[in-house]
């Protein structure tokens, strides 16, 4: 297969994400038209599950919400962010991620040195085709280890 097409735009921009979830709780800076955002962690998220190894790629079931489920992990917080003052970017310096109730990671929101295109296999296309779903310019970045906390 010498050539695979990469479509510059998503075939179904609004369908999957925005329509069913009108509210994007993230700070405006991190919001993208498709709702996708990037979070970088040092380490991984281990989610207990019966089928551990199916973690990675499963193209087939993405369109079927009934078969997906979400496991709560913790909470994200941008303590200095205020909706009333969206132009001030000082809040980016601090972000928290609680894992469970008693562990917290401290991180920040960073502008990516180069924007990142999120690519996905185009669904319902006969040939193998990729599409650019979103171009992301910021990431939430946690580079430190979790610390114990008690006061949540």
């Amino acid at each position: 297969m010498p050539s695979i097409k990469l479509q510059p735009h998503c075939s179904s921009p609004a369908k999957a994400t925005i329509a069913s979830t009108p509210n994007n709780p993230l700070p405006a800076l991190l919001q993208t038209p498709s709702g996708l955002a990037l979070l970088e962690l040092q380490g991984t998220i281990n989610v207990p599950s019966g089928n551990e190894e199916q973690d990675n790629i499963d193209y087939s079931s993405t369109d079927n919400p009934a078969s997906t489920f979400e496991t709560p992990i913790g909470k994200l917080m941008f303590p200095d962010y205020s909706v009333h003052n969206p132009d001030d970017t000082k809040w980016m310096k601090r972000a928290y991620m609680y894992v469970g109730r008693y562990q917290r990671m401290t991180g920040e929101v960073k502008k990516l040195p180069r924007p990142i295109a999120v690519l996905r296999k185009r669904q319902a296309s006969e040939d193998e085709e990729l599409e650019v779903v979103e171009i992301v310019r910021y990431k939430i970045f946690f580079k430190s280890r979790p610390e114990p906390v008690t006061n949540v």
Binding site: V47, D58, T71, G74, K75, D80, I116, L119
Partner: protein
């Protein structure tokens, strides 16, 4: 506590995860993708046969990302950090599991489910990075392998002339030619503009005489076309430095005797004309768009035959210097292709001058030849050096030094140095 009053967002993990890839964009690519009429991009790798014929010393398997005019090599860069792709939650959270996060949902610092949740729906442990190797990308090595070599001289007495091409006065339409060309370019892992640039450089052409086939003329055939072209132009009083009609030039090339087969396909003449009426041998990348429009001009030229040559060279006719250079190089490639067949310098210069229109002969000098295109086995002789064998000095001088460094970005030291 310091976090009081700020909203907390429930963070969940979606299962099954989705498949995404992350591609780091260059500024040009970002601009391209965010523009209103973003073009279709392609991920190209050479066909198996071509990959074996044209070996890239730096890597075995590779994929290139091609915009209409630009090519990038894709490299997968692993990271020890994991990048998660988040999306606002759709609320398929098992309420029983909330306990993990919050003892009693709805209490202080309450989580307002499901609006206030994001979910990680994919994890990527690698990103795709793009880079352009120091020498850039060229279609020529691939074209040389995929096009048939056309090596028939006009004075070969016609017994192996191109089939019955003379009978059909209507040659292939420009559309068929373009399709044939694009078919070849499909398997070549560089952008279409770069394919066309290489195509032009090789004077490649499409001929329909024996079924549609794509050819690249040998140096010998190119030289024969040139000689014939100059002869004809002199006979018909066509000044090659001024604007002229390709149709007239073609007529001047044909023998007076209508019955005779043409010495070579008209497409070959046009390919040669297109090659030498272009000012820069290799325009810098920024000029690629211009160069593409020139190509369009060239195509148009094939269709109507009425357009003057100036259409495909931005207002110039044959450029004396460029053309002289091309003739010299072609002559050398045709007569002294290897060290063992080297010819005398003075002999070469004389022959070179003789193949030029009279007024151009002053241009012919060894210094006019493109850098590195010739070699001197001893002080009196000269021979041709294949482009692939040439010292990589000429273009690299203009290439930014950072490009050379980018070669080893897997090496962290290099990578960091580049960022300073």
């Amino acid at each position: 506590m310091s976090t009081q009053g700020s909203r907390s967002i429930l963070f969940t993990h979606t299962r099954p995860q989705e498949g995404f890839r992350l591609l780091e964009l260059t500024p040009e690519l970002e601009e391209l993708l965010t523009s209103k009429d973003a073009p279709l991009l392609e991920l190209k790798s050479p066909s198996t046969a071509l990959a074996q014929a044209v070996i890239d010393p730096t890597t075995h398997d590779y994929v290139n990302l091609c915009t209409p005019i630009q090519t990038y090599r894709i490299r997968q860069v692993q990271s020890s950090n994991s990048l998660h792709i988040l999306r606002p939650s759709r609320g398929e959270i098992s309420q029983a599991d909330i306990k993990v996060v919050e003892e009693e949902p709805g209490e202080s610092g309450a989580l307002n489910l499901p609006d206030e949740a994001v979910t990680a729906l994919a994890k990527c442990s690698s990103t795709l990075e793009l880079h352009v190797p120091p020498g850039g990308f060229s279609a020529i090595p691939f074209l040389e392998k995929s096009l048939r070599l056309y090596d028939r001289r006009s004075d070969d007495d016609g017994d192996i002339a191109m089939g019955s091409s003379a009978d059909s006065t209507a040659p292939l339409g420009s559309k068929e030619m373009r399709m044939a060309r694009e078919n070849v370019c499909q398997d070549i892992p560089v952008s279409m503009a770069q394919c066309e640039q290489g195509w032009r450089e090789l004077c490649a052409f499409v001929d329909g005489a024996e079924g549609v086939a794509c050819w690249r003329p040998s140096a010998r055939s190119r030289l024969a076309v040139w000689k014939r072209l100059v002869e004809g132009a002199v006979l018909q009083g066509i000044n090659l430095e001024k604007q002229f009609l390709v149709g007239d030039l073609w007529k001047s090339v044909l023998d007076d005797d209508e019955e005779m087969e043409p010495p070579f396909p008209r497409a070959l003449l046009e390919a040669v004309v297109r090659r030498i009426c272009i000012a820069d041998e290799r325009p810098p990348l920024a000029d690629d768009i211009k160069c593409e429009s020139r190509m369009d001009g060239g195509r148009w030229l094939q269709v109507s035959g009425l357009l003057t040559i100036s259409c495909c060279s931005l207002g110039a006719s044959f450029d004396k210097v460029e053309c002289t250079q091309w003739v010299g190089e072609t002559y050398l490639a045709a007569t002294a292709p290897t060290t063992s067949s080297a010819i005398g310098r003075s002999e070469f210069l004389r022959a070179w001058k003789e193949s030029l229109p009279e007024t151009w002969r002053g241009e012919a000098a060894l210094t006019t030849l493109p850098n590195g295109c010739y070699n001197s086995p001893d002080p009196t002789t000269i021979c041709f050096v294949e482009p692939s064998q040439r010292q990589p000095t000429k273009k690299d001088a203009s290439a930014p030094i950072t490009a050379a460094k980018a070669k080893n970005t897997r090496n962290w030291h290099e990578l960091l140095k580049g960022h300073r």
